[in-house]
């Protein structure tokens, strides 16, 4: 902080000094504030801010913490909802994470968050601390974290820098998640050159709690103690998240201090167990994790949320490095810290528990009955602000929005207009295309990554990779559990962000339904380019509207999420990538549906209809290196009917497997369903082509939505088909499951008999060959 960096005591910028030196130059610009923002801070305070106050406002008013560009759009997630949708919501948007009542006295909380920029600079630590941060959000709600997921976007596989990021990110997630003892139950891995300089690392966590254990981040009772506990505060990550996440890379950070944070999952694991015991003992009245913006955020938000104030002696913070200035302490993003609000009468019990876990703590101050946040440094007042103005009254922007100049041309460049060749009459060629699509990096087996993740720990994992959603048991008594799937197709969103967001929602919803659970709530992580680019802002406006409208149509509310802007290199933004996570509930995880067939001789049915929808598809990308046209049509009513059907069928135990169709279309789904347990299949497409009026290429590779591939035991056939007909879900038998073993085949009539072993070899070899 060049000219605000002052010595601990001698050169301190105090409130008194600020009042008498109004004209002192302050580095608001270097801290990322705009002139009018700086002026409004002066107006709020009626004087210039102290350097500590400036540090606080600048981090809290950054894009990352204040959502200043996105706020006006995110509101609709709270507005486009019915009472029915809110019925199961115990905590909605705005808290650290939303909380959903799943019955039997249980609730779950889940959220997905980005750690994109740090993960490009230092992939290992960036990804690791991304997991750490989201898990603390879940813990803060009073929940025991029970699983994690990771949504990854990397650059092109052939770019030499991609391997650096892939290795670092996956190792970081593996290290942190595994050490925490949280099963990794799924995620996404996509390679595309648009993410070359801006990989996306999103992490999701889910936690479970009893209703009565719900905790909120607020300090409302005067006299309660403000206690910082967990790791010591150090110089790492000062300005890290806020500056990195708020500006493009060429801008320099405000300090010479390292901008990266180093994670210590061991400290976090201990913190989790310690917090859960503190909750259980009933000794914390409010709690907040320290993430981006550190103590600035925790103090101002706790006070603001509780409608109270706080008095804090900052020198009491336990430091790793005694040379830290008060400004740096306020901004430090050291990991594995929590701030608890503890009634004085409970202090003894609090101390006994933190000491049991050998967690360090220090009492910083107390809650006061005044709308003020006072922070002192060795007795001198360095902060005196209304907490709300820091935490919640940040600037709100109505950024200019412009319809992208390029999009009409892109939409006109359809697969048909571009004349992409189809090999409908050449069985050899189309068979080769199938293998090429299936084993392309985005469609290939992800176990090179997911085998680095512990999916067993906890003993409650009912489904994980490679199944359609991750599922964990919440109640060991009844088997009650939750399923989660996340999706985002950046290619579709580039073509049409409104429908692209709906498509992401539809796919995640369908994945949850395919696993046997009932979709219930939505979280999201909106990854976009610079909000200062009106065309990016248009994409953002479209995507948020699409997601909110889609949720309303499906009747499931958004409970929280995260926005990541500035994902661009120079002027080139990433594809809009709104990662949508859907959480579903299942009364007994024993009822879960696997994504592949386990027995031979079952019938294979395709639910839904197939249109000639190849624009933006994996086929267009992999075979023709093409992106253009319009994404597939979204039919959310159809998705709902499909989900209801799967739920009904699962209750009656009618389906032996279900796998949704998405990237790579029917071809991909058939191959994956066979590979899941090594059971072959015989498939014919003639009737499908005739019924839906599509050619062989579309039958195999179209990415029409609202489709699921199921296998059904012969004895359940009549009942199952009857159920589909009763619910008006289009159903067509397209094949039968075949033998397992070394001569198992996926036989597609008029295309080829693919040896399952050969398919497996190509599908499995791709990532190991690329990344070792």
């Amino acid at each position: 902080m060049s000219d605000v960096a002052v010595n601990p005591v001698s050169n301190l910028d105090t409130v008194a000094l600020a009042a008498t030196t109004p004209e002192k130059h302050q580095p608001w610009k270097e801290l990322g504030l705009k002139e009018d923002e700086y002026q409004s801070i002066r107006e709020i305070l009626g004087r210039r801010p102290t350097s500590s106050e400036l540090a606080m406002y600048s981090v809290m008013w950054s894009e990352h913490c204040s959502y200043k560009s996105s706020k006006i759009y995110l509101r609709q997630f709270g507005e486009k909802v019915t009472d029915e949708m809110k019925k199961h919501l115990m905590v909605g948007m705005g808290e650290n994470a939303g909380v959903v009542d799943i019955g039997e006295g249980w609730a779950v909380t889940f959220k997905v968050e980005s750690h994109n920029h740090p993960s490009y600079i230092e992939p290992f630590q960036g990804a690791a601390t991304g997991v750490g941060g989201i898990v603390r959000d879940i813990l803060t709600m009073g929940a025991r974290p029970i699983a994690v997921m990771d949504q990854l976007r990397f650059g092109a596989v052939e770019n030499p820098d991609t391997a650096r990021v892939v290795h670092g990110v996956t190792a970081g997630i593996s290290f942190y998640g595994n050490c925490l003892g949280l099963p990794n139950i799924g995620g996404e891995t996509v390679f595309d050159k648009v993410y070359q300089g801006n990989p996306l690392v999103n992490a999701l966590s889910v936690g479970a709690l009893r209703h009565e254990d719900l905790k909120l981040a607020k300090a409302s009772n005067p006299g309660d103690l403000v206690i910082l506990f967990g790791a010591r505060t150090g110089a790492d990550g000062i300005g890290g998240v806020s500056v990195l996440a708020s500006e493009t890379f060429d801008s320099t950070g405000p300090t010479k201090r390292p901008a990266v944070q180093v994670g210590d999952p061991f400290a976090e694991k201990v913190l989790i167990e310690c917090c859960l015991e503190l909750y259980h003992a009933g000794v914390v009245a409010g709690i907040q994790d320290l993430g981006g913006a550190g103590i600035s955020c925790a103090t101002s938000e706790l006070a603001s949320n509780g409608g109270a104030g706080m008095r804090v002696d900052l020198e009491k913070v336990l430091k790793r490095d005694e040379s830290l200035t008060p400004e740096e302490i306020l901004m430090s993003e050291s990991q594995e810290r929590m701030m608890g609000i503890v009634p004085k009468k409970d202090l003894k019990a609090f101390v006994a528990l933190v000491e049991k876990w050998e967690v360090e703590y220090s009492i910083l101050g107390e809650v006061i009955n005044e709308d003020r946040l006072y922070i002192n440094w060795h007795g001198e007042e360095i902060v005196n602000v209304p907490p709300r103005t820091v935490a919640h009254d940040g600037p709100v922007y109505h950024r200019p929005v412009a319809y992208p100049a390029w999009i009409d041309a892109l939409n006109a460049d359809t697969v048909v207009a571009a004349g992409l060749a189809r090999s409908n009459d050449n069985a050899t060629e189309i068979a080769a295309q199938l293998v090429e699509v299936v084993s392309s990096p985005n469609q290939a087996d992800k176990s090179w990554i997911t085998d680095q993740y512990d999916h067993y720990v906890g003993g409650n994992t009912a489904l994980a990779q490679p199944d359609d959603s991750g599922m964990v048991r919440v109640s060991e008594e009844t088997g009650l559990g939750v399923a989660i799937a996340t999706d985002a197709n950046g290619r579709f969103c580039q073509l049409d962000p409104y429908n692209g967001a709906k498509l992401a929602l539809a796919e995640a919803y369908r994945n949850v339904a395919a696993s046997g659970a009932s979709p219930m709530a939505v979280t999201n992580c909106l990854n976009f380019g610079s909000p200062e680019n009106p065309e990016v802002m248009w994409q953002f406006q479209q995507a948020t509207a699409g997601l909110a409208d889609g949720c309303l149509e499906l009747g499931i509310p958004v409970t929280g999420g995260n926005v990541s802007f500035y994902n661009q290199t120079g002027d080139v933004a990433i594809h809009p990538t709104p990662v949508v996570g859907v959480l579903g509930v299942i009364d007994n995880v024993a009822r879960r549906i696997p994504s592949g067939w386990q027995d031979s001789g079952n019938n294979i049915y395709l639910l839904g209809v197939t249109r000639d929808e190849l624009d933006g598809s994996a086929w267009a990308g992999v075979i023709h290196n093409h992106l253009g046209g319009k994404p597939p049509v979204v039919d959310l009513a159809g998705e709902k009917a499909l989900a209801d059907l799967l739920h009904g069928a699962s209750l009656q135990g009618l389906v032996a497997s279900a796998h949704d169709l998405a990237d790579g279309g029917l071809a991909q789904a058939v191959v994956e369903s066979s590979l899941r347990f090594g059971v072959g299949a015989r498939v014919w497409l003639g009737e499908l082509m005739e019924r839906d009026g599509v050619d062989l290429t579309a039958a195999l590779f179209s990415e029409s939505t609202g489709r699921v591939l199921v296998s059904v035991g012969r004895e359940d056939d009549v009942k199952f088909v009857g159920l589909c007909e009763a619910r008006n879900v289009p159903v067509l038998r397209i094949g039968v499951t075949d033998l397992a073993g070394s001569d198992a085949v996926v036989a597609i009539k008029d295309v080829a008999d693919f040896s399952l072993d050969e398919l497996r070899n190509s599908w499995k070899a791709t990532l190991p060959e690329l990344f070792g």
């Binding site: 085998d451 993740y453 512990d454 720990v457 003993g459």
Partner: protein, 231 residues
């Protein structure tokens, strides 16, 4: 019948180990790292995880804990002790079992359903298996490569102290495909794979034709029950 399950700071699979003990039909007694009192348990499980972050060397800091010191002494007196993954590393660092465990050959953490061969059934924890039985047990570790000097290896092989060997795939570069060891007396067994993750149908490893239904791990716990009852 009481079986102690140890928790160090950073232990992760203690709840799973406790569940396995309960499913096998024994009573669980939680043991805390800082407490040297073993509460008269009939056997002890050192579960998996990252005790003290597994910093320095896996299991090295946990080997110094009061509870470990007590367990070492009791094991020398014949108390059945099972070390799973990090627990195995603690046993090795405590010199209850020979050799060392180092970073996996491919440098990655690996989680997979692993086939093992039971090579010794004369122990407190394997007596319910058949000799050379092949079982599937989840494996998950970053530092599971077993190493020992030539002389130690020779002794292990010569005296039949290899309890489990990896079959088909050696996932971490362990010498002689060693997945687990026993001590001379047979009361102490350590292995990298996780039997406590294969005790409940629905949550175990995949078996041919049925998802997540493998429960081969249950026999470890049934073995110790049998052993203690017969003792």
């Amino acid at each position: 019948m009481k079986i102690g399950v140890v928790t160090f700071p950073g232990t992760l699979d203690d709840r799973d180990a406790a569940r396995a003990v309960r499913i096998a039909g024994a009573e669980v007694v939680p043991l805390w790292h800082a407490d040297a009192n073993l509460h008269k348990v009939d056997a002890v499980v050192l579960p998996g995880g990252f005790s003290y972050g597994d910093y320095l060397r896996c299991g090295a800091i946990a080997a110094q804990a009061p509870v470990t010191q007590a367990i070492v002494k009791a094991a020398e007196g014949g108390l059945p002790v099972l070390g799973i993954c990090n627990g195995f590393q603690v046993l090795v660092e405590s010199h209850l079992l020979p050799g060392g465990l180092i970073r996996n050959e491919n440098q990655h953490f690996i989680c997979r359903d692993q086939k093992l061969r039971v090579e010794n059934v004369d122990t407190a924890w394997t007596n319910q298996f058949e000799l050379n039985q092949e079982i599937i047990i989840p494996l998950k570790n970053g530092e599971g490569g077993y190493i020992a000097d030539a002389e130690t290896l020779k002794r292990l092989e010569g005296e039949g102290l290899v309890a489990f060997r990896y079959v088909d795939v050696n996932p971490n570069g362990s010498m002689n495909d060693i997945a687990g060891l026993r001590n001379e007396r047979g009361n102490v067994v350590g292995l990298m794979p996780h039997p406590e993750h294969a005790v409940e149908a629905g949550f175990g490893p995949d078996k041919a034709g049925t998802m997540r239904s493998g429960i081969d791990g249950l026999k470890f716990f049934e073995s110790v029950l049998k052993q203690v009852v017969n003792a």
